[in-house]
């Protein structure tokens, strides 16, 4: 049986949205898929050596909040200074309590499993990002490079 292929485009750079690409890629690898993730725009944050990702309740009515705050806390007040760091702290604590893997760990597992990580060169240039801020073992390339693999893939996800 020919090896299946999974291609993912990761476009989001918040703590919550950082999980799906790495969870799916690492699991696919464990199932024998050849896997590639193309990181573009805010998704590039997921390739930084120092991951300092945040989660925000702002504009996210689906986010469960502590003490049922999503039911009674005025939406406008979620924009208050400090809310984002508080929510990020609580989310990280909850994840640790529930045995959810840390992002660094999942990312390492992906690299160990030879998931190919590709940084969008255009975005790196656009935001004047420093290539040395990114982890080792990644590739810098463009959209055509993504299609080279995605065109042959069995599953292609835009996250």
């Amino acid at each position: 049986m020919e090896q299946k292929k999974l291609a993912i485009i990761a476009t989001k750079g918040s703590l919550d949205w950082a999980y799906p690409p790495f969870i799916l890629a690492s699991t696919a690898s464990a199932l024998g898929y050849e896997t590639e993730i193309f990181f573009t725009f805010y998704g590039l944050q997921l390739l930084k050596k120092n991951l300092n990702l945040q989660v925000t309740p702002l504009g996210n009515p689906g986010m469960p909040m502590p003490m049922g705050m999503d039911k009674w806390f005025p939406v406008a007040l979620t924009a208050l200074p400090g809310m984002q760091s508080m929510m990020t702290y609580m989310m990280k604590k909850k994840m640790a309590d529930k045995g959810v893997a840390g992002l660094e760990e999942l990312r390492e597992l992906c690299q160990e499993a030879e998931v190919r990580l590709i940084a969008c060169q255009m975005t790196v240039d656009l935001f004047d990002m420093n290539p040395s801020d990114f982890i080792d073992g990644i590739e810098f390339a463009g959209a055509a490079r993504f299609f080279e693999f995605a065109g042959e893939s069995d599953i292609c996800l835009y996250i």
């Binding site: 969870i23 690492s26 699991t27 690898s29 464990a30 199932l31 024998g32 529930k98 045995g99 959810v100 893997a101 597992l109 499993a113």
Partner: protein, 76 residues
């Protein structure tokens, strides 16, 4: 529970870690050897069924005992 060659305690770990750890443990085994996995993630029951089906490794046993899930997987 039948004999096994290696035990992996994935208690307290959540998706996808039990599967990833199991995959790693299996890669250290010879074909025909058996891995015993202990997990607490309720999702792992369906996940190990799916893992076995897709990787060709045989899920010999899957059961719940004392609030934990036990799986025996024979390496293909």
């Amino acid at each position: 529970m039948a004999d096994f060659d290696l035990e992996l305690d994935a208690s307290g770990l959540n998706c996808p870690l039990p599967i990833l750890r199991a995959k790693k443990s299996l890669s250290g085994l010879e074909a025909g050897q058996v891995l015993h996995i202990i997990a607490t993630d309720p999702g792992s029951v369906k996940d190990f069924e799916a893992f076995a089906k897709q990787t060709g490794n045989e899920l010999m046993e899957s059961k719940e005992e004392g609030g934990k899930f036990h799986f025996l997987i024979k390496k293909a």
